[in-house]
Structure formats: C-alpha cells, structure tokens
C-alpha cells in the first residue's frame, strides 16, 4: 500500500513536471533583459523553498525528539535534513549557472549566497556528525541540538537581502520587495507542487531506510552478544 502511494506520488510529480516544463520552455515569454536563462528561476526558487521547508521540519522534529525521546522523530529529522540538503545543493548549482551567464561569474561572496553555502555546510556537518557517533540515543540527542542551531541560518538566508543591501543577488518577490509578472509568479508556485511531491517521496524512502538501519544496528548488537 505504502509503495503504491509512493509510486502514485512520483507519477503525479512526473506528469506535473512534464506539463510545467512544456509551459516554461514553450509558452512563457523570455525575460526582456535575461532572455531564456531567466526560466531557471522556476526550478531555482522552488528548490530553495523546499530546502527551507525540510530544514524547518527537521528542526521541529529535533525539538520533538528532545522533548519526547521517541526515535521516530530523530529518523524524520535526519530524512528531512538529507532531502533538504539535496534540494539546497540543486538550488546553489542552478544559481551558479545562472550567475555565470548573467553576472559573468558563477560565485559572488554576497550575503545571500554565502549564507546559503554556510547552511548547506552546516547540514552536511549534521550528517557527518551522525556517522561519527555509535550510540543511537547519544547520536539522536547531539544531532537534534545541531539541527536546532543550524536552523538559525535559515532566517539569515531568507532575510539577507533586506538586512544587507549591497548585494548582487536579485531582490526576491517574497518579503524582498521585488516584482514579477503574474504569469511568472503563477508558474513559480505551480512548479513548486511537483518539487514538493518529489521531496515527499524522497523523505518517505529515506525514513524507511533509517528504520531499516536501526534494525540492522540492533541485529549487529545481537550478533556481537552471541
């Protein structure tokens, strides 16, 4: 049943993505200044929103783990962090390709880009920390604390445009004061739906893995005891 739901979600995501790709590539007009490369925004921004949402979910799950000590919250936190990191990296890579064309350089050390990079490094550190600790409860406790601390970077990424004015990154439309034509704006949200569905599928697969990993660790301990 669970497997069927995941397949159905993946199919819906694929259909929506195909439809959106058709509209993005063939129906939407080019931007006056940036021309066709502007369309990267329809993947770049939903990737960032999905990453932020995953990091937020990981932070909430970490708080819940610290208060309840249920390991399923820890499993959810690690799954959300890993999926969020994948979307965060996709966001950085698409931004770099866009910047290479529009700015003439793939990277600028402005507050938005640097804070996003730091965020990705922090969450990569979270995943590495988990590999370094053997005991499951100790690992869950330490990584929950790190997840809560790392989330402090997300509002910094989000509001960096407002807080640091001298930036190369374009002004965002959401809470940034930027503007966008309604058809672009609509497409941005429409394309976020399949990206979110994909993230949900990844999350479910990763959570299942975490449960199996726990089972594996328990069996190993039993084997050592024998």
């Amino acid at each position: 049943m669970r497997q069927r739901i995941l397949i159905a979600l993946s199919l819906i995501a694929a259909l929506l993505l195909a439809r959106n790709l058709y509209v993005i590539l063939l129906q939407l007009p080019d931007d006056k200044l940036q021309k066709a490369v502007f369309r990267i925004i329809f993947f770049h921004v939903p990737d960032a929103w999905t990453a932020f949402l995953c990091f937020f979910a990981a932070m909430v799950a970490s708080i819940l783990y610290l208060t309840t000590k249920h390991l399923r919250y820890d499993a959810f936190a690690v799954a959300a962090t890993e999926v969020g990191l994948a979307f965060g990296v996709a966001n950085l890579v698409t931004g770099m390709i866009w910047g290479h064309r529009i700015w003439g350089t793939a990277w600028a050390w402005d507050a938005r880009l640097t804070s996003m990079l730091i965020g990705c490094l922090l969450y990569a550190g979270y995943l590495m920390l988990r590999h370094a600790i053997e005991d499951p409860t100790e690992r869950a406790k330490n990584s929950a604390v790190l997840s809560i601390i790392a989330f402090a970077d997300v509002p910094i990424i989000f509001f960096s445009i407002k807080w640091w004015r001298q930036m190369q990154h374009p002004t965002p439309v959401v809470w940034g004061g930027g503007s966008m034509s309604p058809e672009y704006w609509r497409m941005l949200f429409l394309n976020w739906i399949p990206v979110l569905l994909l993230a949900a599928v990844f999350l479910a697969i990763r959570m299942r893995q975490e449960v199996e990993q726990r089972e594996l660790e328990a069996l190993r301990r039993r084997a050592h005891a024998l």
């Binding site: 080019d30 770049h44 390709i97 190993r220």
Partner: protein
Amino acid sequence: MAVRYLLLSFWQVAGECSPEAYARNFWSLFWGLLAAWLVLCAYLVWLVARQNRTRRQLESLRRMLEDKEEKAQS
C-alpha cells in the same frame, strides 16, 4: 500526453542550436535545468543503492543469527 509534452520540449531544445539560441541564453538555461535534475537524480540513485545495500546486510545478518541460534539450541 505527458510524453508528448516532454518530446515537444526537448524537440524545441534540440532545434535551438542556432546563433539566436545563444543570443537568448538558451544554452545556459539548458545546462541549468540539466544540472538541477542531475543533482536530484544522483541523490535518488544513491538512496536506492543504499537501500539495496542495507537490505542485503539485513538479510545476511538475519540468516547468520538464525544459524547461530540453531547451533546454540542443538
């Protein structure tokens, strides 16, 4: 329908190998979209590979434990 949309989109991309396409920054868009999906596909492949590895290890550990327990009982 979806396949038709996809084919149409890629046909359009393939047809854009012209100076006009370069002027429109079309190739940067193409590489950008390709990179975004490559990152996510690579993650998915890695997830599936890890899942298979974990399941194989689980299976062999279970078999090993069953053997050990049988030997201990006999």
